[in-house]
Amino acid sequence: MAQGFLDAWALVFSFDVDLYEIIFLSLRVTISAVIIAALIGLPLGAWLAVNRFYLRRYVIAVLNALMGLPPVVVGLFVYMLLSRSGPLGGFGLLFSPGAMIIAQVIIITPLIASLSHQTIRDLWAEYHDLLISMNTTRAQRIMALLWDGRRALLTATLAGLGRAIGEVGAIMIVGGNIEHSTRVLTTAIALETGKGNFAFAMGLGLVLIALAIIINLMIHMIGKTERAGTW
């Protein structure tokens, strides 16, 4: 453990170019995936909260079930889609950061949608009469709920980020863990663990945790300057 700390420290401050490349790709893939998943998941959650339709219950049940989907299964699914022998093979996306982003989007969108659905549902119960009375369109309602619920939605999004940045099973399969191309922190950790380099793997793990904490703090700080209040 202590050795892991020291290794990680030594590594970070040795300005090892490869390590920075790996960190950078981790950030790029995860942040892209979180942004895309939030753009899909947040409105979807709001839409499900605001609309009553026949299959609504089932859609929500499916969403909640998808939250528990093993990432390896998602990885296999995306692999079969993007493989040259699969339906989307023509795009040549397999073993690229794009493929990793797609897999992560599939993994975290249900999580973000489900959490935001719960938040928005409560807010909608509160706002319902007012927004109906004000003669709002469906889109205006969703916009108002997303905006006013942004604090809780940020938390939902960060939960997605936490899940994405630590994910390894799916991106190993669709990214291929190619050095200088698709290797990220988690796949590097799996690789080093496989080689028996526990201390080094542990060090990378610490870098990963530090990164997650820094991103969370940064986002909360940005959020706070906008709010300047208790909300």
Binding site: F24, R28, S83, S85, G176, E179, H180, T193, G194, K195
Partner: protein, 265 residues
């Protein structure tokens, strides 16, 4: 936030902009863990201006990736599976490059007394007779297939509480063996590179039956027109060159030579 994001995007674009031609090759974990690729890839880049992107997987998955057209070439070590791959028309041809060897690892106390065995068969029979704990890859990899072939040769169907199939890669299997203080079949490179040896030691090696032939197979462009067959052929030319021969034969780990070049030119 927007600024940071823009900077990230800009940096990514720059990082990926000036790329040479690249080729994807599926290789086995044991080859990758040997560290030989770290020596060869920069030289290939130098000589051919070619980025070889390695997809490191088990033999079964490597063959499947080739079959699906997801890589341009494969470098594996499982003769029977390779022949089947070629027979099905998934690859153009098979070119032998080099070999390394498998070794028998076990607790340094060697409860089954395999260290003095005359043959691999005899060593395995001792392990089975004493029911000493043994960890198998159990993942249908080249190493796993080789191990099973050796058991068959010894006339033993390994089963029972002493025989554990880990279902994972070489490193993870060595970790398991180290934790259980069990016998295990490994390739020499993975063993030398392995950082968590614990009480394990190399107990038996050197039998020609343990030699492990690596072969290069370009994926068939007749099946998958997008594969970069010309680059694969360039790479094959380089891998069988005199320069490659020197680099491969002189690659050592802990003072030991790992690979022996044996391509025919």
């Amino acid at each position: 936030m927007k600024l940071i994001w823009k900077a990230l995007v800009a940096a990514t674009v720059m990082a990926t902009a000036s790329h040479a031609e690249s080729l994807k090759m599926a290789v086995t974990t044991s080859f990758y863990n040997s560290g030989l690729s770290d020596v060869l890839l920069p030289e290939i880049k130098n000589d051919l201006d070619l980025d070889v992107e390695l997809i490191v997987v088990g033999t079964g998955q490597a063959l499947y990736l080739g079959q699906a057209g997801d890589v341009d070439a494969i470098l594996v070590h499982a003769r029977a599976a390779e022949d089947a791959f070629l027979a099905a028309g998934y690859g153009t041809h098979r070119r032998e490059i080099m070999y390394n060897d498998f070794i028998l690892i076990g607790p340094s106390s060697d409860p089954a007394q395999i260290a003095g065995s005359q043959t691999t068969v005899e060593a395995l029979q001792s392990i089975a007779r004493t029911m000493a704990p043994f960890v198998s890859r159990g993942d249908d990899s080249g190493t796993n297939k080789k191990e099973l072939a050796l058991w068959a040769e010894a006339g033993i169907t390994p089963m029972g509480g002493w025989y554990r199939a880990a279902g994972s890669g070489m490193g993870a299997t060595l970790n398991t063996a180290s934790g259980m203080n069990a016998y295990v079949v490994s390739d020499r490179a993975s063993w030398l590179n392995f950082g968590n040896k614990g009480d394990l030691a190399l107990l038996y090696a050197g039998d020609p039956a343990l030699f492990n032939q690596y072969a290069f197979i370009p994926v068939n462009p007749a099946r998958w027109p997008h594969v970069k067959n010309d680059l694969a052929m360039q790479l094959e030319g380089w891998l069988t060159s005199e320069k490659a021969e020197t680099l491969i034969n002189s690659y050592t780990l802990g003072g030991e030579q790992l690979f022996t070049f044996n391509a025919t030119r």
